[in-house]
């Protein structure tokens, strides 16, 4: 069930985060603007994704949105109230609503705590449940994320990466959150396990009416899961659009380059052509003007001098580029891939059909595993 998606759950207003390094032996202090004047809204019930390459500030922005970091400037609004100036104690009550799933399932779980204790901990802080009630809820949550309730007594090292990520998700759900932020929640996992966790997140989102904020670098994962997408480059949002619109016709030259750079799993489309020059500039010393101009194939003199701001271009889309109209028209249309042979299509259909035979039920009713496909990874 989708709630009224019109209203905003979270809003960032011109948020900036600066990190300062101590004046070093070799020189003066460095200031990095990891996130620079970013404004965006997250609507209730949607999956909002933030995509970009390393160092673009996507993880910092995610932490700012749930006040794991305090913004240097600007404000963050949760349910209409500014949370950027709240004290830690005031913030603690809100943590119940805003939960985080981290990238690395190996370092984000306390190795000395049993799985049951890990999942129970948020309930101790945020609820008035009794000990027995909490234990019951732990068992229920473990089942919901596709693990067995008996696993509560075991320790994180006994589990695979995928299972640990499921434990992390169960813990995030324990306080009954409204918003879950996943910082690269599937990027450390193998493809087949990644697909299981993606499906799980989608099921849980539906079941618990969650708003999902996803930080990722993998455009295919984002394409699969998101409603709206923000593309970041060097601390700034360069494009923001609905999923289909963005993938049909990316407007910003960086978004285009990102999409062209993804290798497509088909030997017929050998055409990753990157017309990006060089490396990502250091965030310590971002270029003047448009931050992307040093690598942009469309850059003009204007781009070196002036800074394009994120502006609306209709249909809720925003783009930060002076030349977006010409850029958007100049791009080559991706070629249509020839379909697989009829026999191969049958095989894929068979696989889909048979692999779901054991688990037709949604995640909420995952039963004790049958003899085949036993444990979830």
């Amino acid at each position: 069930m989708k709630l009224k998606t019109r209203d905003k759950v979270l809003e960032a207003r011109s948020v900036t985060k600066r990190f300062t390094s101590k004046a070093g032996f070799f020189g003066p202090a460095n200031v990095v603007r990891a996130v620079n004047e970013v404004s965006l809204e997250i609507k209730r019930g949607e999956t909002f994704s933030i995509v970009g390459e390393s160092g673009c500030g996507k993880s910092t922005l995610a932490r700012l949105l749930v006040r794991l970091l305090k913004p240097s400037e600007g404000e963050v609004l949760y349910e209409g109230n500014d949370i950027s100036t709240l004290t830690e104690v005031q913030m603690r009550r809100l943590r119940k609503d805003l939960q985080f799933v981290f990238q690395d399932p190996f370092s984000s779980l306390n190795p000395r705590m049993s799985v049951g204790a890990i999942v129970e901990e948020p309930m101790k802080v945020h609820s008035t449940l009794t000990r027995t009630e909490r234990r019951e809820k732990v068992a229920e949550l473990l089942r919901k994320v596709g693990l067995r309730a008996e696993f509560a007594g075991r320790y994180p090292h006994e589990f695979s990466g995928g299972q640990r990520q499921r434990i992390g998700i169960a813990r995030a759900l324990a306080s009954g959150p409204k918003v879950i932020i996943g910082d690269e929640p599937v990027s450390a996992l193998d493809v087949s396990v990644q697909a299981q966790v993606i499906n799980l997140l989608e099921d849980l989102k539906r079941e618990f009416d969650l708003t999902l904020i996803l930080i990722a670098h993998d455009l295919a994962v984002i394409r699969h899961m998101s409603d709206r997408i923000a593309v970041m480059y060097l601390g700034e949002v360069v494009e923001l659009a609905e999923n289909d619109a963005l993938f049909d016709k990316p407007l910003h030259p960086y978004t285009q380059a990102l999409m062209r750079a993804i290798p497509i799993p088909s030997p017929h489309s050998r055409a990753i052509d990157v017309d990006l020059k060089g490396d990502i500039p250091s965030p310590l010393d971002p270029p003047d003007g448009c931050r992307f101009h040093t690598r942009c194939p469309h850059a003009s003199q204007l781009c070196e001098r002036a800074k394009p701001h994120l502006t609306g271009v209709g249909n809720g889309r925003q783009v930060a580029c002076f030349h977006w109209e010409t850029v958007a028209d100049a791009q080559k249309k991706p070629e249509q891939l020839p379909p697989r042979s009829a026999a191969a299509e049958t095989r894929f259909a068979l696989f889909r059909q048979l692999s779901q035979r054991d688990k037709k039920a949604p995640a909420s009713t995952i039963k004790a595993p049958s003899e085949r496909s036993t444990e979830n990874a």
Binding site: A195, H217, A220, I262, P263, I280, T346, F348, L354, S373
Partner: protein, 337 residues
């Protein structure tokens, strides 16, 4: 030394029946793996963590300590010699010369205490009778070839002064400095951002065309495979479950694992519904199934699958799969209805 044209078509490396076992383990971690790669050809070995793809590469390079991993059986013919039975000294002469490798982590595979120019030169001096001057010249030439801008200025940089993509370029320069006949690349772009990954894949492809080096690329990313492979070997739990030309593997996959792997990858094309997934997880070495190693996770498995491990059987010209149910659409004709 330029690549000899006469070699084209002949196998540069030909591995037969390779089986490896870790000390004290209950089953082989690599079990009866065979493949070959010719000059100018690219073979991609694809599989998930723990499938044995990296161990295979390390054993070919002689980089697996024999005290840890035992070669149970198999040969690896390279240049008329069996790599698996070469004494360590002879192996050290080939490694970095005729046979080179690049690794996933460009941060840790370079020595942080030495200038990159010196590190490349060292690789040249180890295998060639050249002076320091000439080796340095060669290093500069190589940095140019891997398209490092202002290479002359970069020669005296330390690894920490370079970005991840640049470090991987340096690694490639070092690997190719002695014109190897075979280059093994183990997940060379996994640690890199997509736009940088695309640049490195382009570079590897171009260099291979220039030099005619045979390339074995180890990866988990089907997108990378589609981009550069001539031949593909899909590995699961220490065995090759399917092999063939890139076209056959992607357009006409036969093994349930290959099909499952491809179904699990989200696509950037039109949005689809739920992803089809492979249930369960990779078996550990001490709980290796005695029949087909994929059977416990395979939606098509029947009792016969648990008896003997299936061998690779030809599906079409140059394309084979190790599944007793292949082709699936015939075996399960009634299920599809």
């Amino acid at each position: 030394m330029p690549a000899e044209d006469s070699l084209a078509g002949h196998a540069v490396l030909s591995v037969t029946g390779l089986a490896l076992r870790f000390k004290g383990a209950a089953a082989n971690v690599v079990d009866g793996v065979s493949f070959s790669v010719g000059a100018g050809e690219t073979l991609c070995i694809v599989g998930e963590s723990g499938c044995g793809k990296s161990v295979t590469a390390l054993s070919l390079m002689g980089l697996l300590p024999r005290s840890v991993a035992q070669i149970v059986s198999g040969t690896a013919l390279f240049d008329g010699r069996d790599l698996l039975s070469l004494p360590p000294r002879a192996m050290a002469d080939i490694r970095g010369d005729r046979l080179a490798m690049i690794f996933q982590e460009p941060m840790t595979s370079l020595n942080p205490a030495y200038r990159i120019g010196d590190q490349i030169a060292e690789a040249v001096i180890r295998h060639r009778r050249v002076g320091k001057q000439d080796a340095r010249k060669r290093a500069l030439e190589m940095l140019d070839r891997v398209r490092i801008p202002a290479a002359a200025k970069r020669l005296d940089d330390y690894p920490h002064q370079l970005s991840g993509g640049m470090r991987q370029r340096v690694m490639i320069a070092m690997a190719l400095a002695n014109d190897p006949q075979l280059l093994i690349a183990d997940e060379p772009t996994t640690a890199l951002d997509v736009t940088i990954q695309a640049q490195i894949i382009d570079l590897i492809g171009e260099l291979q065309k220039e030099t005619g080096t045979a390339l074995i690329m180890i990866t988990h990313d089907l997108g990378v495979v589609a981009e550069i492979a001539d031949k593909v070997a899909v590995m699961y739990a220490g065995r090759i479950v399917e092999e063939g030309g890139a076209g056959a593997i992607f357009d006409d996959p036969q093994h349930p694992y290959t099909i499952g792997l491809m179904s699990s990858v989200p696509s950037i094309g039109p949005r689809s519904g739920r992803l089809a997934t492979i249930g369960g997880m990779v078996p550990t070495v001490d709980r290796m199934p005695s029949g087909c190693r994929f059977a416990p996770r395979c939606p098509f498995a029947r009792p016969a699958c648990d008896t003997v491990p299936p061998d690779l059987a030809p599906m079409s010209e140059g394309h084979s799969a190790a599944c007793i149910n292949a082709p699936l659409e015939t075996t399960f004709a009634e299920a599809g209805a």
